[in-house]
Amino acid sequence: MPRLIMAGDGDSALAPWSEAEVTPIPTLQSLGEIFIELREPVWRYLLALGLAASEAEEVVQETFLRLCQHLASNGKQANLRGWVFRVAHNLARDEHRRRQRRPSEPLAGVEANGRAYTDSLATPEQQVIDQERALRLKSALERLPTRQRECLHLRAEGLRYREIAEVLGAGVSTVADWVQQGLKTLGKECDENHRK
């Protein structure tokens, strides 16, 4: 932390701050732009992982606070999108573990917080069909293995395979295998539901 030297505190003069004491502040423009670009995708990803809205909001704030510190300490600026999602992913995992240690609380999960699927151009019957389809998809996603589910959600938020690999700490070809297996499983479930 910077040290403020007051006159009369034993030092006869106010000494300038040394470089080690002054923390460079990242430009507001760069931090603001990253925040605006990634806040909603990160938020949706956290909810898709099963976090409650309040937990997701805390994780989002913590993630961007760490981003600010990362930029201020001249951290690596390549693939910042992957970096942000990785931090959010790890914080969400920590939040899951904390929740498991706590007495179970009723989750304000996606179903309670989720918006009703609305399409102003669809008829009411179509809207009901679409809502049921969305719920079936959600259930199918929750039945997938964790890694496959995480890959699909990250891919749905526009991350490239190398970014997903950075978030999950895996290789690109492994990520491709997970995505392909997840899509294959969901595809079979969609076909079965269509036949019913």
Partner: protein, 235 residues
């Protein structure tokens, strides 16, 4: 055509490679190979279609079923600060507001102006018609002095001869082109030279072309600045 691996021992690419090609993650060469196979293989095409359908449903779920994040004091403050720093979106450079015909007209105008300037500066001034020095009588009759070396007209052979002692009749002289006839001839010197007739042409004095290649004699009035002012053919 090299197939990038196979799941089933047949000629199909691996499903992971198929997916990477679908998502645009392969290099161009590999993507082209996979794309060519998919175009000719119904089974792989059906797989790609199914994956595309499922992917779209997941994205639709993200967009429509997951709640919007609540307003955040931090987000509001950043929005406000960034909006105050961004330039107005409706400011456009004037050339960006030109329509295509306007842009073509502007370009044509600039090009025409540049061409006119280039033509003006590159044109050779017209050779004035020879005229007699007698139109303007110099105040002083040039005195005959020992010959001076001419400077502006290239002479292949010059013979310096002692000029005749008689005063020169300037009325018979022709003013040379490019010479400033307003300058007085005081202190001028008359020089008698022999030179090829082509040099006269170069000096702007038209000579009967029947005499091309001939050597002529001429008297040249040289000014104090060393430049020829007028000449007359002697022979």
């Amino acid at each position: 055509m090299r197939i990038i691996g196979s799941n089933h021992g047949d000629s199909h690419p691996k499903e992971a490679q198929l997916l990477l090609a679908l998502d645009g993650e392969l290099e161009a060469r590999e993507a082209a190979i996979v794309g060519e196979h998919v175009a000719n293989c119904q089974a792989c095409r059906e797989k790609c279609d199914q994956w595309t359908m499922v992917s779209e449903r997941i994205e639709e779920y993200h967009r429509n079923c997951l709640p919007i994040p609540p307003s955040s004091a931090l987000a509001d403050e950043l929005d406000r600060l960034l909006a105050s720093k961004k330039p107005a979106a409706n400011l456009r450079s004037w050339w960006q507001s030109l329509t295509f015909p306007g842009a073509v007209a502007a370009f044509a105008s600039v090009a025409a102006a540049l061409l006119m300037l280039a033509w003006y500066f590159s044109r050779t001034p017209a050779v004035p018609a020879p005229r007699y020095v007698a139109v303007r009588t110099p105040p002083d009759t040039p005195r005959l002095t020992p010959a001076l070396v001419p400077t502006s007209v290239a002479h292949r052979s010059i013979r310096r001869r002692r000029a005749p002692s008689a005063p020169v009749d300037v009325d018979s002289f022709i003013a040379l082109p490019y010479s400033d006839t307003a300058l007085p001839l005081s202190g001028a010197t008359t020089l008698r030279v022999q030179l090829p007739v082509e040099d006269l042409w170069l000096a702007g004095v038209m000579v009967d072309s029947g005499r091309a290649g001939a050597i002529v004699q001429a008297d040249i009035i040289m000014g104090m600045d060393g430049l020829p002012r007028a000449m007359r053919l002697v022979q």
